[in-house]
């Protein structure tokens, strides 16, 4: 347990200190959201309608962008081999690494989203709902993305392939994340129905992601 806590602290420090690039994701998120009005035009009504979807797409892309750091840095400096040989179960190690990664890169996205939602002219209730869905949904993206990060860890430039592999797996999270945010806006179905499924997907990814990523890492290390 102590080893896992130490690992969490190590990952967190590495991510937030110089060269960690933790806030790069949040910056990218800001840029994606800024670019959208240039593409679709500055119509505030339209923006408030598609706002939750834009925030979700931005968060998804920003998460994908930072995923290659999850195992790549450890692989480069040999830390991954030590982790593989360590006594802690690899699945738990991956889980802790994902949690630390999410705390450093996913949480800033969630915190930034209410601010960006104001740019999108969203209603206060929609801002709250979108932030809440992102809070529940972004860990699911990180856990799912860990599978892709582990599969492409041996590749020199696996970033694009990682995105191709992970994006189809994130579709359900995206669907239920956006639909619970829009359910608040338009009614039709209660917020809790898609939100409960989103939470279930998050828990599912929390189990499946580390197990599959650990299997991939073991085979990559052979």
């Amino acid at each position: 347990m102590n080893a896992l806590l130490a690992l969490f602290a190590r990952e967190w420090k590495l991510a937030v200190r110089v060269g960690g690039g933790a806030l790069m994701g949040a910056l990218f998120f800001l840029i994606v959201v800024t670019v959208v009005p240039f593409g679709v035009g500055p119509d505030l009504n339209l923006l408030s309608r598609i706002g939750p979807a834009i925030l979700w797409i931005g968060a998804l892309l920003a998460t994908l962008l930072s995923l290659d750091r999850l195992f790549q840095v450890d692989r480069d400096d040999g830390g991954l081999d030590l982790i593989l040989m360590g006594e802690s179960p690899l699945e738990l190690v991956v889980l802790v690494k994902c949690l630390a990664h999410w705390a450093a890169t996913g949480l800033p996205l969630v915190i930034a989203s209410p601010l960006l939602a104001i740019f999108m002219n969203m209603e206060p209730i929609a801002i709250g709902a979108t932030t809440l869905t992102l809070l529940v949904g972004t860990p699911a993206l990180t856990f799912t993305g860990a599978i892709g990060a582990a599969l492409t860890v041996t590749l020199k430039r696996g970033g694009l392939l990682l995105a191709i592999l992970v994006l189809p797996l994130t579709v359900p999270v995206m669907i239920f994340g956006v639909s619970s945010a829009t359910a608040v806006l338009y009614g039709g179905m209660p917020f809790t129905t898609p939100f409960a499924i989103l939470a279930a997907l998050g828990l599912f990814a929390m189990v499946l992601g580390p197990v599959a990523a650990a299997a991939a890492l073991r085979h990559a290390g052979e």
Partner: protein, 243 residues
């Protein structure tokens, strides 16, 4: 005869050489019977007219796109659990075939959708989940092509294949879980099929024909892949000897 007996590629190739001509014959005969039934015996639909005949290729393509993925998933288990040497050959060869079948299922469905629904494409649950399946096939092919070491590529794609299995029940039950434009299952369902025998029999024969086609192409692709790997090994030995 056990599956492990065919772990030896030479023995497997011998079996394939014996089976292939019969398989080819069976495929051609079934297709001939199926197509004859479809074009000369099956009635036109009272609402859809002759366009209903797209069903006889669309439905088998859709079934096989999922069947092919399950073949890959079984092969992935074979790679990871039993380390069967031919399992990864099977998985690797099934991916392009599966991608082709999925693409054809989408394309024929689109051609059928235009006259029936008035649109080439709708973002409905069944269509979207099949599109995701198509992208997953392409991602698996990309992963296999990117990792140079064949053994490592096989294991990486096996892990991804097993993760992607979650999509298969979503495709199967998408028409039951969501209200979709795509019609729900009508052949294999509780309480018997709702299709009349005059249409069901040609459909099932066409499904058998396409399944035979899949096995035929798959075995040929596996044979080619084994030979390709042998050539690769021979070249490497040759290169090592030349130094």
């Amino acid at each position: 005869m056990r599956l492990i007996d065919y772990a030896n590629p030479t023995r497997f190739l011998g079996l394939v050489a014996k089976i292939l001509p019969w398989l080819a014959g069976a495929t051609i005969v079934t297709f001939a019977v199926g197509l004859w039934l479809v074009f000369f015996r099956a009635p036109a639909d009272y609402q859809q007219g002759e366009t209903v005949k797209i069903m006889y290729i669309h439905v088998p393509f859709a079934w096989l796109s999922m069947f092919c993925y399950m073949t890959m998933a079984a092969s992935a288990l074979g790679t990871l659990v039993w380390r069967h040497p031919l399992a990864d050959v099977s998985a690797k060869c099934a991916a392009p075939i599966g991608a082709a079948f999925t693409f054809l299922a989408l394309a024929t469905g689109s051609l059928w959708g235009k006259p029936m629904w008035g649109t080439w494409w709708v973002w409905d649950a069944r269509l979207t989940s099949v599109l995701v399946l198509f992208i997953m096939y392409l991602g698996l092919i990309a992963l296999q092509e990117t990792i140079e070491d064949p053994l490592r590529a096989a294991k990486a794609s096996a892990v991804l294949t097993l993760v992607g299995v979650v999509n298969i029940p979503i495709i199967k039950f998408s028409v039951d879980w969501w209200n979709t434009l795509h019609q729900p299952a009508s052949v294999f369902r509780m309480g018997g099929s709702t299709i009349d025998a005059s249409m069901l029999v040609p459909l099932l024969i066409m499904a058998v024909a396409f399944s035979l086609l899949f096995v035929w192409i798959h075995l040929m692709a596996m044979r080619n892949e084994i030979i390709r790997r042998r050539i690769r090994t021979m070249r490497m030995i040759e290169a090592a000897g030349a130094e």
